[in-house]
């Protein structure tokens, strides 16, 4: 498979997983969290998938297409290690759908960042929330089945399960 084929499959997997995630949380109230804006393509897609939802976006430096820059009040500007901690006051237990795709092209770096950020993302999710992630994450919740056509490992869907007190 060429790098062009592989890139197209990755984007198709991303789109399919975002679609599944949005459908799974359609009955939950709460905002969406986009972990990284980049050129704004997936933010734009999330806006279409989740009309009317607040979409918070983490980004270090905004360099997106001007049409895809979130309103200032939803932009968490800075290093995600800091902004996710700060956002806890406002977003703890409220986020229904989060998307994480560092898209660095460096698998080891993506996984390392995912390990570092997972404990900061998890507290923001409400029970039943879905995290759509390119890197695999451990101990983040229940791994959900992937949409048809998405190969295992290409993209990942996790659901935050209800915390239950011990019997």
């Amino acid at each position: 498979m060429s790098r062009l084929d592989s890139f197209i499959r990755r984007l198709e997997a991303q789109r399919a997983c975002l679609g599944s995630g949005a459908a799974l949380v359609c009955d939950l109230d709460g905002p969406v969290l986009e972990l990284g804006l980049g050129n704004g393509r997936t933010y734009d897609h999330l806006r279409e998938l989740c009309p009317g939802r607040e979409i918070y976006v983490c980004e270090r430096h905004v360099a997106a297409h001007p049409d895809c820059v979130p309103p200032a009040q939803f932009l968490l500007l800075g290093d995600m290690r800091d902004t996710l901690r700060t956002a806890r006051k406002e977003l703890e237990g409220r986020v229904v759908l989060a998307h994480f795709d560092p898209a660095t092209g460096d698998i080891a770096a993506s996984r390392a960042l995912a390990r570092e950020l997972a404990p900061l993302i998890l507290p923001l999710l409400c029970p039943g929330a879905v995290l759509v992630s390119e890197p695999a994450l451990v101990a983040i919740g229940l791994a959900l089945p992937l949409p048809a056509g998405v190969a295992v490992g290409r993209y990942n869907l996790y659901q935050r399960v209800n915390r239950q007190s011990p019997p």
Copy 2:
């Protein structure tokens, strides 16, 4: 349509047009010309589509994935306005398949560059050669029908027609 949808359609159109172009020239002898290397994705795809063909690649500064850097003898390094002129000695009337996609995101700039480069690309093509181009080009040859699923204007296929002497 979101920017993610639009980007995926663009890449799918690119892939379909490259496939059509390669199929149309399969009986012609001669090299392929990739006008811009970028990250090397389409170069990699052309290698798969055209095994055994020489693939010449124009690029100002190589910044592709290390797996996708052409051998030095096929790399035309520098501004295409210069390198296409220099390449005429070696490639005039020999290229069977060329691909042009500046992917700047700036439609006006792409079209202006296309207008400037078309007279430099045309003499390199052999009769029957196919040019796969994202920007539309005028007076470059016969516009060919697009592959199924590719919307008119999204990508373009041109064939150099045989020059005939006047009757």
